[in-house]
């Protein structure tokens, strides 16, 4: 754990508006030390972070004062900026990255989504011992891939206090999609509290930051709207099971300030374009604890990359992504200004920026949606929801399916041929197994619920994003990206072997005790998952909790498949929705020990973390 932060002021000591909106000029405080200027030499502006390129990079980690909300706090920064410098590297290059630690505590840098030797992966205690104070560690590896990635500390809560930056690897063969402007849009979240203190508070009262709890007056309003019986039934399961239907996130704007490229909503990060430009936006969710729902009112978003890997372009109006995930989208703005609006999943606030033809323009900023209660589907999976829920889901998936077909008529035939390659129904592993096996350690104090009827469909946009048009919250035809819309382009999924074996693990937790785990075993009680070098293996993850977990497997790809065993898209971080059962295939090409965890930083630290051994 990282300590050594000044004891925070209580949030109520700040004016509410300033806390949520942040300071317009918030960020890293001016006086730049000379060693830092040297390190940042040759930097040019892209987003708000300097850009470093070449084969040799120097990074310096230090404590730097910042002020996002009107109070000064110490951040941990890389080369003195938040976000850290954007690294623009080239596919095929051998890179040398020297990281010097000027903190009083150990640190590390992990290259998120990058395939490399395990000693270079940057997880203290698994890849290496970490970088001691005063020490310089030299990372050396060959870039075997291209696309949009990011890097961050893997020590304590340093990531949460400012250690994250974009990592762009330019493809040797040139970009597949021409762009006139190319911006990193890195979303993160900041707290003025010491994260350890924040975590400790959750250990005492896990809903301490939830100011959207069901109240007595919500109940009386429901009684007058739907009658006493229905109002009671709506609450029955939740109350009996001691589950909170508004438990959408552990943290909220009660402690967080949401940032876009290190800029507060009031600060309004801006990206410039000229009319007619094709603009590429590289969205990176570098937040510690926030899922973001991103849209740019007035613009269609054409998703061309997910987690750095090219996908068949799919045009949507909005997408949700969790910590660790990245999406590259193309937009073609015609007006003067557009708001990039990224509301947090629990709807307590938003990060915001502007795309405009000149500096200083703004466009209307939407209000965050009202938070929605989790449904029975989020608690129980496929069997949840009742008649009304089922109808709504059906409508939803039908709408999506229709669009899929019209847009991907070429892809359909290919899918059929791929089915043929997978030995069809002869192979018992052709499809992921649907028989649920809870671990014996899921019956103890570490697990507050188990799901016996998980959903396996990939086309659910998730709580708060379902049926937005029907509910009048967005224009007609508003389309939200789902996992089902993502399909790697030809050639990305190069290992076509069917899996030789199948592993099943469950994502578990106990909200009341604020403990998170795999199979009910926190990291300290767990044993590694052992994979054989170059085997083709299927991993089934079943989410036995009511929160979405962005699961990040280091050192190898996670290649998502459908419940029918159709290989779809290559990811490094896969969000698993409440009561959902998903599966992906992987081929571990690199020997060593690797981390595998939920990328919600507090869930990882609470124990939803496993080691993977490839030997």
């Amino acid at each position: 754990m990282t300590h050594g932060f000044p004891r925070p002021k209580q949030p109520w000591q700040l004016s509410r508006r300033r806390f949520v909106q942040g300071l317009a000029a918030g960020g890293v405080l001016a006086a730049t030390p000379s060693w830092l200027q040297a390190a940042a030499k040759g930097a040019t502006a892209l987003g708000s972070a300097p850009v470093l390129s070449g084969r040799e990079i120097d990074l310096v980690i230090a404590a730097t004062p910042v002020d996002f909300t009107g109070v000064t706090r110490m951040a941990t920064t890389i080369n003195g900026s938040i976000p850290a410098p954007t690294l623009r590297l080239r596919e095929g290059d051998d890179v040398t990255i020297r990281v010097t630690n000027r903190l009083p505590v150990s640190t590390s840098i992990h290259w998120h989504g990058i395939l490399l030797p395990y000693q270079m992966d940057g997880v203290p205690g698994i890849s290496y011992p970490g970088i001691a104070p005063g020490e310089t560690f030299v990372y050396r590896f060959t870039l075997r891939q291209s696309g949009t990635y990011w890097y961050h500390s893997h020590s304590g809560f340093q990531e949460m206090t400012g250690m994250y930056g974009a990592l762009i690897i330019e493809p040797r063969a040139g970009e597949r999609h021409r762009a006139d402007q190319d911006y990193v849009v890195q979303l993160s979240d900041w707290t003025d509290e010491d994260p350890m203190h924040t975590f400790s508070k959750l250990k005492v009262q896990s809903d301490v930051y939830n100011f959207n709890q069901p109240t007595f007056f919500d109940f009386t309003a429901d009684v007058s709207k739907m009658g006493l019986q229905a109002a009671l039934e709506k609450r029955q399961m939740w109350n009996q099971m001691r589950m909170n239907p508004t438990d959408l996130a552990d943290l909220s704007a009660a402690t967080l300030t949401f940032l876009m490229n290190g800029t507060t909503p009031a600060g309004n990060w801006s990206g410039l374009f000229q009319r007619g430009d094709r603009v590429r936006l590289r969205f990176i969710n570098a937040a510690s604890n926030s899922f973001y729902d991103v849209r740019i009112p007035g613009l269609k978003l054409t998703v061309i990359q997910a987690d750095g890997q090219d996908v068949e372009p799919v045009t949507v109006d909005e997408f949700r992504f969790g910590p660790g995930e990245t999406y590259d989208v193309m937009v073609e703005p015609q007006d003067d200004a557009y708001t990039i609006f990224a509301q947090s999943m629990e709807r307590s606030g938003y990060a915001r920026g502007t795309l405009s033809v000149r500096q200083g323009l703004t466009a209307p900023v939407p209000e965050p949606d009202s938070p929605e209660w989790l449904t029975m589907k989020d608690m129980m999976g496929a069997m949840g929801g009742g008649a009304m829920g089922h109808d709504m889901m059906k409508m939803d998936s039908m709408g999506q399916t229709k669009m899929d077909h019209s847009q991907m008529s070429g892809g359909m035939a290919m899918d059929h041929s791929m089915h043929g390659m997978q030995q069809g129904s002869e192979n018992p592993l052709a499809k992921p197994s649907s028989t649920i096996h809870h671990a014996r350690t899921e019956y103890g104090a570490s697990v507050d619920q188990r799901v016996d009827t998980p959903s396996t469909n990939l086309d659910d946009p998730g709580i708060g994003l379902r049926n937005l048009s029907q509910r009048g919250l967005r224009p007609q035809g508003h389309r939200v990206l789902t996992l089902a819309d993502l399909k790697s382009i030809d050639g990305v999924l190069d290992d076509r072997r069917p899996p030789a074996r199948e592993l099943e693990l469950h994502l578990t937790g106990n909200m009341e005790r604020y403990s998170w785990s795999f199979d009910g075993l926190e990291f300290g009680k767990s044993t590694p998952v052992s994979l054989r070098h170059n085997e083709r293996v299927r991993i089934i993850l079943q989410n036995d909790t009511m929160m979405t977990h962005p699961m990040h497997l280091h050192g190898m790809w996670s290649e998502l498949e459908t419940a029918q065993g159709e290989l779809r898209v290559r990811r490094h971080t896969i969000p698993v929705q409440p009561a959902q059962r998903i599966s992906y295939l992987t081929t571990p090409h690199d020997l060593g020990r690797w981390a595998w965890h939920c990328h919600l930083l507090f869930h990882m630290d609470a124990g939803m973390f496993r080691e993977v051994v490839v030997s």
């Binding site: 400790s200 188990r450 300290g524």
Partner: protein, 281 residues
Amino acid sequence: MRLIAIKPLTILAFTVGAFPVNTVLAQMDHSEMQMQGGSAPADARDPHAYSDGYTLTEGPYAQPGSRQLKLADEHAFWSILGDRLEYQEDSDSTVYDVQAWYGTTYDRFVIKAEGDIADGTLEESSTDLLWGHALNAYFDTQLGVRLDQYNEGKDRQWLAFGVQGLAPYWFELDVTAYVGDDGRTALSAEAEYELLLTQKLILQPRAELNLYGKDDAENGLGSGLSDLAVGLRLRYEFSRQFAPYIGVEWTDTYGDTADYRRAAGEDTSDTQFVAGLRFWF
């Protein structure tokens, strides 16, 4: 009459106290499709089945030496909750009811302290020193001692065994059975509920009762159901951790405890207004 003064008496011996309660709680957890609690079926999956015998410190590519990566599941936390720190109008006294713990998710050292201060003197106090261990997802068992101190009366020491946690429908329960000297036994039970009127305005009903196994004339406590207190407190959470409140507390005594009161010329029941502070950190 004071709430804390009444640690009345009973019937239930040690085993009677704890284990049936556990069983009842476990049964409550079994409800509703086995989504919660229960015990693992014989064919439940082995969570170590994929390890090939390797551990976090042994096997290929393990870092040398002892394990360096320790997360919050191996970290100790602590908290202090001042559930009631209040002035009681009628008796012109100050009551404290504080709990503190130090430990991990599943094992913690717990202190529960209640006391009653009047005219600058600690009139009575009751302090539990307990070791808590997780029983299931929502409840801990607690084992330890209770020390009762009386300014006028005779101090008592007890062995304590209880369960504390969150019952279905969000009731906070705390039930403890006690065994003392000379075959004394006691049972105390407490339940709290939080009704959110708004996100910050919270109404908290609370009930506490005490039973004793035999009369304790020195401390004015009779056997059987000795006393019952029911309170209603309305607090405003300036922050989740800092909330002043006002409330009303009704108490009644029964059986021999009531008789002792009458003999001493005291009321056997009363209702009084309270004002106080709830806090935690």
